[in-house]
Symmetry: C2
Subunit: 343 residues, 2 copies
């Protein structure tokens, strides 16, 4: 009789620029055994997030890079299939940092139990999870928009951006989204009810953005970097706030960026307009603000004022292609891999 095996995806090589499928490798590994006080988990949904691109590089950052041959980092929604820990039972649904794999052992730490009766379980990886809290913390705790001000967010059809705009509207603030296609722009306005949306691939993007922000920009939620920033910079008002939570447009950059050097103009704007740029990781605010986030967004989902989209790919073996597509902006909504059907 063959020993039962799990599947996992490891980092095969460090990408230069945009990752390719060959940078990943699907492997089998022995199924872990239940340790004393631990749990065994079956992964239902794996989350694909832009930050994972950073972990593929051997560059100093806030987190250790994934080593060559190591399982890709990732969070997932899991079903408990065996438990030796009080408080967790077979059949429970939990959030866990399992990495890209079908099954995982857990020492029972860094878990969060999900209540399937409150919201669909996959939302724990999206609108009611890390991406949602990233939007909430950046907008409300750093951006602090006041009624009547204008908030601009890029990747506005994505899991973070779509919530930023909806939270802005809840606060009485004008919400302008930037997205990468006419279809996404339409959804930003019709589905997520932003005041306006602008396609950053349009040739007259800068003018369209200016027209959508007649009173300038008070909060620019920076989650893409690159060319969008250049269009935003001249529109920022005095005392504008720029929470910086992601730079997906430059994650694939290899080597020094070609000129012109855009730093002096940015620093000049920081000075002459008294701007605040503030990078952050959602962890910084979690202990104090996560419960309020869950209440606010949970209530918004329950009563329909907050909407979300998911972009689900089936099968762990398809995770690399889905991840590459997300980095290229081909997903629409929170990128998830359904690793196993939930009960």
């Amino acid at each position: 009789m063959t020993k039962p095996a799990l599947k996992q995806i490891v980092l095969a090589s460090r990408p230069k620029g945009l990752p390719t499928r060959e940078d990943f490798r699907l492997e089998e590994a022995p199924m872990p055994e239940l340790s004393q006080g631990g749990l065994l988990l079956r992964v239902l949904y794996l989350s694909l997030d832009p930050y994972m691109r950073g972990r593929m590089d051997d560059r100093k950052s806030y987190a250790k890079p994934v080593g060559l041959g190591e399982v890709m980092t990732g969070e997932s929604v899991c079903e408990v299939i065996a438990s030796d820990q009080a408080g967790y039972h077979v059949g429970d649904t939990v959030l866990a940092p399992t990495g890209w794999r079908t099954h995982a052992a857990s020492a029972g730490k860094s878990l969060r139990k999900l209540d399937p009766a409150l919201a669909p379980i996959a939302t724990g990886l999206g609108v009611l999870g890390m991406p949602g809290f990233t939007a909430y913390a950046g907008l409300y705790l750093i951006g602090k928009p006041k009624p009547g001000e204008t908030v601009v967010v890029a990747a506005a059809s994505g899991p973070v951006g779509s919530l930023v705009g909806q939270l802005a509207k809840l606060a009485g603030v004008r919400a302008v989204g930037i997205a990468g296609s006419p279809e996404k722009c339409r959804a930003v306005v019709e589905e997520f009810r932003f005041d306006a949306a602008v396609d950053h691939r349009a040739s007259d993007f800068g003018e369209k953005l200016a027209a959508a922000c007649p009173k300038g920009i008070d909060v620019y939620f920076e989650n893409v970097g690159g060319a969008v920033w250049q269009a935003v910079l001249p529109l920022l008002n005095n005392f504008a706030r720029v929470p910086v939570c992601g730079l997906i447009a430059q994650y694939n950059a290899a080597g020094p960026a070609p000129g012109p050097n855009l730093l002096p103009a940015t620093m000049r704007a920081v000075l002459s307009k008294s701007l605040t740029l503030r990078g952050y990781l959602n962890y910084e605010f979690a202990a104090e603000h996560y419960p309020a986030f869950l209440r606010t967004v949970g209530a918004g989902i329950a009563d329909g004022r907050i909407r979300y989209r998911e972009d689900i790919t089936d099968g762990l073996e398809n995770a690399p292609a889905a991840f590459i597509g997300m980095l290229e902006g081909r997903n629409f909504g929170k990128a998830l891999v359904r690793v196993a059907p939930s009960a």
Copy 2:
């Protein structure tokens, strides 16, 4: 009998890069007459400040540019020589926005009376004036250093930088200065009592700066821009604060900056280290904090814990050369022009 005349310096042409003496013109103009409720002022000291370079460009900024043929903007310490306003008497010493001239009429607004018994009157343009408050506001209100942290400031022998380091020391913070010559570096340590000073013109500047900051940098007080920022960036600690109050190294830049593009690396550091960059003008904080600044720094000067240097040029006609020298870093201490001897 000839009518009495005043002297003034006007903007003759807009500089390309570093200003030249030909960009200024010394003129005579009729002496103003005392208006109802107004004052007549004799300028004693004119302040030369880096921000004036910005006003010479026809570029949108927080303040209107100086027009061609108009008197250069500037603050000065003046003696009241005639007064039709209650509360001001002949012989009083006042701070006034006179511009670069020997005499000025004033409607009696935007004045601040100085008490010559409290401190030498020229300090009202330096350590006890706008440059001093700029240091105080940026360090204490934006940088907010905690005991044991490290503050780095460039132009550390200048009127803003030298006070930043001394205020840091008063707060129990390690102070590291950057200056443009071995002599200035020596003064930064010996006269202003910083913990260390590094010459940014040294070939191994980056390594020396790293050695002077063994625990990294928690607050970088940005008042120069340009190459120094590149050396500071890798040394910034997580959650470091960067008050941005000046960019003298790039004020003379004409046209777009050549590559490489340094903006992506800066934005990556903002994100990965949760940095705060915050531009400011001292006006923003003046109403609330100016009295506390005057008390704190005034007491520090009186008891010798705070020191300052002045770099005085005699004669209004020599103001352009002194101003150009200041932009080149050739001054040492607060740049002032003695326009007339004080009584």
